[in-house]
Symmetry: C2
Subunit: 416 residues, 2 copies
Amino acid sequence: MNAELIAVGTELLMGQIANTNAQYLSQRMAEIGIAVYHHAVVGDNLERAQKALGIAKQRGANVIILCGGLGPTEDDLTRQVVASFLGKTLNLSDEIVEHIRSFYTYRGREMPENNKQQALVIEGATVLDNPRGTAPGQYIEADGVHYFLLPGPPAELKGMYQEQVLPILRHVQGAAKQVFASRYLHTFNIGESSLELKIKDIIESQSNPTVAPYASEAGCTIRLTASAATEDEARALITPVEKAIRERIGHYVYGIDDETLPVKPGLLLREKGQRVVTAESCTGGMIGQMLTDVSGCSDYFYGSVVAYDNTIKERVLGVDPQVLREHGAVSEETAKQMAEGARKLMGVEWAISVTGIAGPGGGTPEKPVGLVYIGVAGPGGTTVGEHRLFGDRTQVRLRAARTALHSLIERIQNEG
Amino acid sequence: MNAELIAVGTELLMGQIANTNAQYLSQRMAEIGIAVYHHAVVGDNLERAQKALGIAKQRGANVIILCGGLGPTEDDLTRQVVASFLGKTLNLSDEIVEHIRSFYTYRGREMPENNKQQALVIEGATVLDNPRGTAPGQYIEADGVHYFLLPGPPAELKGMYQEQVLPILRHVQGAAKQVFASRYLHTFNIGESSLELKIKDIIESQSNPTVAPYASEAGCTIRLTASAATEDEARALITPVEKAIRERIGHYVYGIDDETLPVKPGLLLREKGQRVVTAESCTGGMIGQMLTDVSGCSDYFYGSVVAYDNTIKERVLGVDPQVLREHGAVSEETAKQMAEGARKLMGVEWAISVTGIAGPGGGTPEKPVGLVYIGVAGPGGTTVGEHRLFGDRTQVRLRAARTALHSLIERIQNEG
């Protein structure tokens, strides 16, 4: 099977947003073994969108996923595009109208009349519910091609994919009776090309599972995907290859599968019944934000002090004014006192601190942009690492936050 | 003139990276008035890439920009694709070989033989120098279509566009040169469909400027884009239409152009010489993170306390334990005390507080998931708003953070 992704939206052609939905869906297709040979983007234009559908069909896609253009405004045309391409009618669903109306009622507002457009269903299509927004998705099969109409907002699209599109695709794949299983090994502190070199022979000698290292949001991830008649059989194919890879680069692996950088510390802390807080300067609250993105984090995350200004470092975290004068806010000593101050202030076992120069301004020859000190205060004492991170302001901040989370994971693991 | 962007690279189809080059180039095309009707992405495959070129030419693009596939490895095929599509030969340029060799020599390394592939020039093409990497670009005109071959790495592509592609495009645009100007009006608290209904007649009666409302990251934005012989003339066309729109929905507009939600509070605070801090519970540090994403924010942002656990609300922010017992952590009273506590603790003019239920757990019939209290403590006293936000955990947190920033903007503006 092969899929083509068509994004519909003039905002993409104007460069107002990047087509991250195509990236997300491509990853998901790769996971279940559906090849993607083309992405296409067209504007909110009936004729051009229909032609794009025709091209996709002609070049042999048997799964066509359209993203966007399901909103309530006049330029949201995806429903019309597909209906007219397939020669089907559009029918108003009272049930969907009521669902959308309840969405507005809950917020104490009245549903605008044009929202009714979102309740138009292609003749013969299955409605894909959207608990995250007003635009339901649709699924229809015609001439052996499976068409999915998904909403453009990424949070809505991702939820709908996981909950409703994936089961349908699995079912469609059914006839071929293949089950896919994957294992993800998340690594830190090693680049994609070095990683690839270290396991090149394994990558090249394997076809089931396939072994694919890729740059992930926080470091590099190695994906092993095997197919077999059952999930157990697929997993059994993965095990020896995973073992061989771990023998080479196991010390870079900090987590598997869902154990991403913001998730892993929580798993370790919950097991030990311990808690963590953060003391942040240049990251501005990003580490706390990452940790609290994980549902149930109140078990182990207590809070943060963002001490952006030096007065807050002194006043709230108790950093010694003399340390700030002599060593500066971006120094090993300040990072140490920030972590220890936060740990004491909030009365928990662990505290992470970050102080650095995110740029673009503020750098000097001795303390350049990208210089970041990361402290971890815990039951076994306080450690501080000096890091020189590269990139623009956003990248330095992100890398600092991730390095901090990784430092915490290492400390907790090392103290057994 | 209209352009089509074709990205060549299997890594895009595997979802390893997002097609940010398409976003960048689309923005640049919009700035100089070249319409972009399609983006396409194909893999490192000679046949499919050639077909994509054929489709682009057939649908009338007179500028075709190919990104990627100019590297030294075997799957870097873009040079071959274009040469063979146009029926031209590829010739080795000794000059480019020497340039690439010097790139390696400078780093004390030897040029690998496969880098010579990067010195193959399409017969009749202009070479576009690449001071940032080894892959030079190429430009060739054939049958009235202008083909640009640009390297995939964004930093190389951007530099080459600015320095070499833009002057060629300007020259090609020649006499028909049009200048575009845009104005963005950022709104909050009004949905895209309601916004469109209120200005529907203006949208429909205008063609220069065009008026386009779209859902942006934080609310809705209206884009007005006019074209004229000079930027001043284009701006003059926008002014009366902007005025007419503001007469209808001006109270929803919180900022223009670059004045996004995280930026606007800083502009207002800097003007008044005032400072802000945050006291966050369910947002976990996100508001501080958003404010500190803005370079130079140290002028007005002092810090945050993330009081995720109630002990931190009491211990650090001084929230009355009795208030927490009687009203709960998610209550108007707690939000008020959090904001006032943070303002006092950090000694600044303004404090924002957020406490709410982000879900998925923790909701009750009286206090459902999505219930959020937002407090603003300032020179004129403390106000607290009750909000019922929808969506999953991530969305509730994002919406709470944005609503908090918007509440701060309103309070500062109202206290004139």
